[in-house]
Symmetry: C2
Subunit: 252 residues, 2 copies
Amino acid sequence: MTVAIIPVPGVPMIRPGDDLAALLGNAIETARVGLKPRDVIAVCQKVVSKAEGAVVRLDDVVASPFAEHLAGRVEGGKDPRAVEVILRETKRIVRMDRGHVICETRQGWVCANAGVDESNGVEAGTLTLLPRDPDASAAELCERLRTRFGVALAVVVTDTFGRPWREGLVEVALGCAGMDPLLDLRGRADLGGRTLHHTVVALADEVAAAAGLVMEKDSGIAAAIVRGVRYTPAAGGAAARLVRSPEFDLFR
Amino acid sequence: MTVAIIPVPGVPMIRPGDDLAALLGNAIETARVGLKPRDVIAVCQKVVSKAEGAVVRLDDVVASPFAEHLAGRVEGGKDPRAVEVILRETKRIVRMDRGHVICETRQGWVCANAGVDESNGVEAGTLTLLPRDPDASAAELCERLRTRFGVALAVVVTDTFGRPWREGLVEVALGCAGMDPLLDLRGRADLGGRTLHHTVVALADEVAAAAGLVMEKDSGIAAAIVRGVRYTPAAGGAAARLVRSPEFDLFR
């Protein structure tokens, strides 16, 4: 079955307190692509964070001495207050080198700068944080859009992450609702009739990456419909399941 | 613009020496989806490896003492000859723990078991290796398909990789031709009018992940057409550029 990745333009600049589910629903309606059962709505983290008020004004931040110290080590210089915000979002610093800080966030994600971001549509002098609970954000959007459009849907909240060893950034799933983020093929027969011992697909991450093809950073497209994905419906979903637990993680 | 990910069924079981470009072209013709200019053809590594004869019969392998030793440490046991094959493909062992071997391959990719695989359509008692030069494989397929169908195309050879910190596997680009695997947005204005300092998108990886949505491990779909991707045409392409050089790699 063909999978279609349909951009949803028309999500306006979001401000804290905006009703994202309503605005996203309007954009979907205006795009006239309709929604079909089992569509996955991908929406970028930035608009979710802004709607939820997960933003910080630099002027409201006082940098700690450690943040001052780190900021001084960044090539070209970095605002110590921005570093302070990053540290507040960080549970553990995974790597700190060559001007980069790779953090484990409170939510368990490992990414640069704990997901704190200053570019792309955010007002000057403010930073966006990751949503407090991206799965809850996804669940709320999913419920509201299901009710409005009357079809079974899934929602994936996406963010742009780097990866060790590989150049370039890709979209990954940060929040997920309505679908199992993992597709477990273990035990299914492969083409040779043998079983697939280790294959669990990070389906929500593949959906996020696919959505990234139309939600480019400079395009102003904050959402996309991914249609035709074979997923397992799930009440919760919970992208948190994509976080590898420490005991199975070779790279802690 | 909507991106379509169109499965291409009908690539037969490939054996060493098969003319993959011809068989893939036949499958595309049979699928009657046509090819449009700028289509990206995603094809899974396994069929490329098999066509190129990058397979090893276990009976032809003698395990070294080190391979014997490693095999004994794997939970449930592993054939020492398979470990020997993995070691021969390995430039550097990145992690070795809990029955897993994460390797840097000769090509520079970091992945489990150096990409050596025994499941999914491979004859019993044989292992597939990664293609010697996946970019060259992609370039040949690209050239042959362009000639046959008379349109400008790109080709991405995909493989299924795990990632640190995240559960589940995703398709990534191992070889690439006809398109720049990276989309460099640095310096372009973002929505707030400021510039995007660090955004280079791993476009070929997003294409691979998108193709993964229809090329599932148990589906027998070895190829897909990804239509509508905004990429920069490039003579070479060269997924090798997705390998992060040691001096920029925080995780060596």
